[in-house]
């Protein structure tokens, strides 16, 4: 299956699952439960590693059930990279949609920051420090996927949403008018933390210079919403393996294209 189609289906099924969870639970079916902070798929529990880490810091304890549920997304990130962000995160899906629209309208943004993961790590460090000082998981206050998932659940369970959903509007406006994909690239603490889990064997975008297939058309750069250069060397940890550059490359250079995912 084509990468872009598989990814769109994954994005849509994630959102469908977030809507299905409260609807099923309202009927008393608890096979699927939770939100993107912590999810239960039958007996399998999956917890956002950053949320889990914060709880471990605030309670100064290591609950074994919590740690096992954190291990699943960590192993997933070590194998496939930050595919949670690129393939599942509902905020990323929303950001991609609005970035597409801003491109259609031709929005000119006043700022362009150099591509660097440090701002995201700085936000993460501040959030973890505040978590320790204030004694509750502070990063969850600005976890966009967590807020979206909990608010979808609230809406279908209780028929109302909380004001925190406004953060999602702020992110969209910020990325639309001020800094392109600025939340994901420079702020998101959840994405920043997942980016730490990278080893040499992690699935990465690979550009094979030696193939003469590369026609230097630059379609891959155009396709990357995060503003990365897939032919360059330093795209990680900002790249979240969405694969849009591979699709663009395939269209321009044909089947033996120089861009692909490699382990």
């Amino acid at each position: 299956m084509r990468i872009w189609l598989l990814r769109r289906l994954t994005q849509l099924s994630t959102i469908a699952m977030l809507i299905a969870i409260p609807m099923l639970n309202k009927k008393g079916i608890n096979a699927l439960m939770g939100s993107l902070y912590s999810l239960a798929i039958g007996p399998i529990w999956i917890t956002d590693p950053l949320s889990g880490l914060q709880v471990m810091l605030t309670t100064l304890s290591a609950d074994s059930t919590l740690m096992v549920s954190m291990a699943i997304p960590i192993v997933f990130a070590l194998v496939f990279g930050r595919v949670f962000c690129g393939w599942m995160c509902p905020q990323n899906a929303l950001s991609e949609l609005f970035d597409f629209l801003s491109g259609k309208i031709g929005v000119k943004r006043p700022f362009r920051l150099p591509l660097n993961p440090m701002p995201r790590y700085a936000v993460l460090a501040v959030m973890l420090t505040l978590t320790v000082i204030l004694g509750f998981p502070v990063a969850n206050l600005i976890s966009a996927p967590g807020i979206i998932s909990v608010q979808i659940s609230d809406y279908f369970m209780e028929g109302a949403v909380g004001v925190e959903l406004g953060l999602i509007g702020v992110i969209v406006i910020f990325e639309f008018f001020i800094i392109r994909r600025g939340w994901c690239n420079y702020i998101c603490p959840a994405g920043g933390f997942l980016g730490i889990f990278r080893i040499a064997k992690t699935m990465s975008l690979t550009y094979r210079k030696e193939t003469d297939q590369c026609i230097k058309c630059g379609q891959c750069i155009k396709a990357c919403q995060l503003g990365l250069n897939p032919m360059g060397a330093m795209i990680y940890p900002l790249c979240h393996n969405c694969g849009d550059c591979i699709t663009a490359c395939r269209r321009a250079a044909g089947k033996e294209n120089p861009l692909s995912f490699r382990f």
Partner: protein
């Protein structure tokens, strides 16, 4: 929402709960009575996303489903018996409670799930709460015919 809201069964004190709750909402989703509601940002930064109950509207019926699904241990997953729950303890306002004012009423006594233990009737048929046995579910607060309720749960304070 009060500063010390009623938390679901299995929560330790408020400070520990705010530290350990991951704000995932599973306890609220599993609750068959819709007793557990999720706080919003308007309730405070540290409260946002945490589960709580408004016992006067919907109390806890002690089905014991929520502690078992908590991923972070904010609710004690090992809690099974409803008699072991300690969400808080009910307190009677003798100035408004009907039997304490001389009118017959047994609503809280009859409906208490820890029947004839957490709430007992004294020799003049007035309800008395045993603070050690009360689980803090709030069913008494829910059924009290006086408005505002003459019996209400005080959420567990920090140890």
């Amino acid at each position: 929402m009060s500063r010390n809201p009623l938390r679901p069964p299995g929560a330790q004190g408020e400070i520990h709960f705010l530290a350990a709750c991951i704000r995932c909402g599973k306890c609220s989703q599993v609750c068959p009575y819709r007793s557990i509601i999720v706080a919003s940002l308007l309730d405070g930064l540290s409260m946002m996303g945490t589960p709580y109950l408004r016992a006067r509207e919907i109390p806890c019926y002690l089905c014991m489903k929520c502690p078992a699904v908590c991923p972070s241990g904010a609710l004690d997953r090992k809690l099974r018996r409803m008699q072991d729950v300690r969400m808080g303890a009910a307190i009677i306002d003798k100035k408004t409670c009907l039997p304490w004012q001389g009118t017959l009423c047994r609503s809280c006594y009859e409906n208490c799930p820890v029947f004839n233990e957490a709430i007992v009737m004294d020799n003049q048929l007035r309800p008395v709460v045993d603070q050690k046995k009360c689980v803090g579910c709030g069913i008494c607060e829910n059924v009290c015919p006086v408005d505002p309720a003459a019996i209400a749960v005080n959420a567990k304070a920090d140890k």
